[in-house]
């Protein structure tokens, strides 16, 4: 199963800051969610290269839902 970066809490994807092919490091802010009237920075808990965006901007996601896959 492909590795994925997941949402840390339930909310709406406001900004996806990476696209397929982008490299990211552990701790990088890779997406911003909107939840509880706050901007929620999603920080990568791993390093890698983005393969496929799973959650588009505007999508509603649960806690733990995959945002994108990476290798």
């Amino acid at each position: 199963m492909a590795k994925t970066i997941k949402s840390s809490m339930a909310g709406t994807v406001w900004k996806m800051l990476v696209k397929p092919g982008d490299e990211f490091d552990i701790g990088d802010t890779v997406a911003i969610l909107e939840s509880m009237k706050m901007e929620i920075n999603i920080e990568a808990d791993d390093s890698g290269t983005v393969v496929e965006i799973v959650a588009a901007e505007g999508d509603t996601v649960d806690e733990g839902a995959p945002l994108f896959s990476y290798s």
Partner: protein
């Protein structure tokens, strides 16, 4: 026998015991980059130990000190009691003498009113001794019985250098603070081998109960250290904030200024836009004495930041919402983390400082299932029953249950202060308008709804005003300039710490858990 011969026999026996385990166990220990038990003690204590009990226990069985070293020594010039496993002697397991020594040092720490430190590196109970040491009144369980009865009277710190399996895992479970060494310490009720046999799970030791797992996910670990020496430094640091026991006050240190770079930025450090995250560590650095922030559970439930620090040399416990993580919203784990920390500070006479920026407890069916109400109630309970000096600063958002749980005015802090960025209200404007005017909105034609909602929202937002809070309801003692906050806090704590704590007479509260 002559005196000389008698003295020589004693010297020989002491030397054998002091040398600890020999052979393969010792080689393995050293090869794993772990310090030997007496080297750990040398690093921990100012000038070696003052005295040792039971050095000669276990010598008849060829087990130096029966695998456990119990001493009294000084840390920062103050006495502490230490119970330390020797992994090189029968894998640091607890035999009959070890248990007696263990319990004796627990009694001594309590009687003398000095902190107790457990340096754990042990395969646990000796299973082949279970018949005599498990069931009876004098059995192993006395370790935990004592821990529970000591709790809140003298500080108990557990440093995990190696394993602490099964029942032994409750030693960290019942301490005030748990320091774990990365890739080296572990705690679990059932070993990976046992899990494979009984529930058919196949995981490594690290996955079952490694230091990272406990410091990031389970919340058992408070501090993650990279090696033995760092773990010991952390123990000494932590003790510098602690009184000797619950009846004393934490030692004052020479005052130091806040970190210059952070302090210079304090005036515009907090974003005015309430939905914009920032790292509360920057604000903490701008307030507390430079280098004094000792963070607890830094890697766990990061939306809540807790730790010890000094303000003008006085020890304080900080509880702060961190909007950098999960918007600073309170979850079950963050509530749990803060409640435990508040209980610890209250037990040891450490004043509390809350930095509030919270849009509330998390909502949704997922958190309801996780028990957000009872976990959230824990935080409220800890705040409301605390009797130490307590100041709450409204940094930015102060909404709903979050406002109360983070030491809002109705929870009777010694002072409520606010920064000019503060936004105190039951709920934010959008949620409020939706709640108050829902029926009206639904009755309106669709093309008029947005305009209506906007006007009501602006109207409501006018009411979220820190000056009205200060003037009309006296909800805050003062609205302070960010640049004045540090001095104000120092002055207030100096006065509030003179207040006598009012203890409610009862056997115990019925705590939410």
């Amino acid at each position: 026998m002559t005196n000389e011969e008698l003295n020589a026999t004693l010297a020989e026996r002491r030397d054998t015991a002091l040398a600890g385990g020999q052979g393969k166990a010792r080689e393995k220990h050293i090869a794993a980059n772990k310090l030997l038990v007496r080297d750990r003690l040398r690093l921990l204590l100012d000038d070696g130990f003052e005295f040792e009990d039971g050095l000669l226990a276990g010598t008849e069985q060829g087990l130096p000190a029966d695998g456990i070293v119990t001493v009294v020594g000084k840390v920062g010039g103050r006495d502490v009691a230490v119970i330390a496993n020797d992994m090189t002697v029968k894998a640091g397991t607890w035999g009959p003498q070890a248990l007696l020594k263990f319990n004796r040092m627990q009694d001594l720490a309590l009687e003398a009113g000095i902190p107790l430190i457990y340096l754990v590196d042990s395969a646990g109970a000796r299973i082949d001794e279970q018949r005599s040491l498990f069931l009876g009144r004098n059995g192993w369980g006395n370790i935990w019985y004592n821990q529970v009865r000591i709790s809140g009277r003298v500080p108990q710190i557990c440093v995990l250098f190696g394993p602490s399996p099964a029942g032994a895992a409750y030693v960290p479970g019942l301490c005030d603070l748990v320091i774990m060494v990365d890739k080296q310490s572990s705690a679990y009720l059932g070993s990976p081998r046992m899990a494979k046999m009984t529930i058919f799970e196949d995981v490594t030791e690290e996955q079952m109960g490694g230091a990272k797992l406990h410091c990031m996910l389970s919340g058992l670990g408070d501090v993650l250290a990279k090696d033995d020496a760092e773990a010991i430094r952390n123990t000494r640091d932590y003790l510098s904030y602690m009184p000797m026991n619950w009846e004393e006050t934490p030692p004052d240190c020479p005052a130091a200024p806040a970190e210059a770079a952070a302090a210079a930025r304090i005036a515009d450090l907090v974003p005015v836009q309430q939905n914009q995250p920032y790292d509360v560590h920057d604000l903490i650095d701008a307030l507390v004495d430079v280098g004094s922030f000792y963070e607890v559970k830094a890697l766990y439930a990061k939306e809540m930041t807790v730790g010890l620090a000094r303000l003008g040399g006085q020890a304080v416990g900080l509880v702060a919402n961190n909007s950098k993580h999960k918007g600073g919203v309170i979850f079950s784990d963050s509530s749990d983390k803060a409640a435990r920390f508040i209980w610890m500070c209250n037990a040891y006479n450490i004043p509390l400082l809350f930095l509030q920026d919270v849009s509330g407890y998390m909502i949704g069916s997922a958190v309801e299932k996780s028990g957000i109400i009872r976990h959230g109630a824990k935080l409220l309970a800890a705040v409301c029953e605390s009797t130490v000096p307590r100041i709450c600063v409204l940094v930015r958002k102060a909404y709903g249950g979050g406002y109360l749980a983070m030491s809002g005015a109705p929870t009777h802090p010694d002072a409520m202060l606010a920064l000019p960025t503060a936004l105190p209200a039951l709920v934010g404007p959008e949620a409020a308008v939706n709640a108050i005017h829902y029926n009206r909105i639904m009755e309106l034609p669709e093309n008029e709804r947005d305009e209506f909602v906007r006007s009501k929202r602006d109207e409501y937002a006018q009411d979220i005003d820190v000056y009205k809070a200060a003037a009309d309801t006296f909800a805050v003692e003062d609205v302070v300039q960010p640049t004045e906050l540090r001095n104000d806090l120092i002055n207030r704590f100096r006065v509030y710490r003179r207040r006598k704590a009012a203890v409610i007479p009862r056997r115990s509260a019925v705590h939410p858990v």
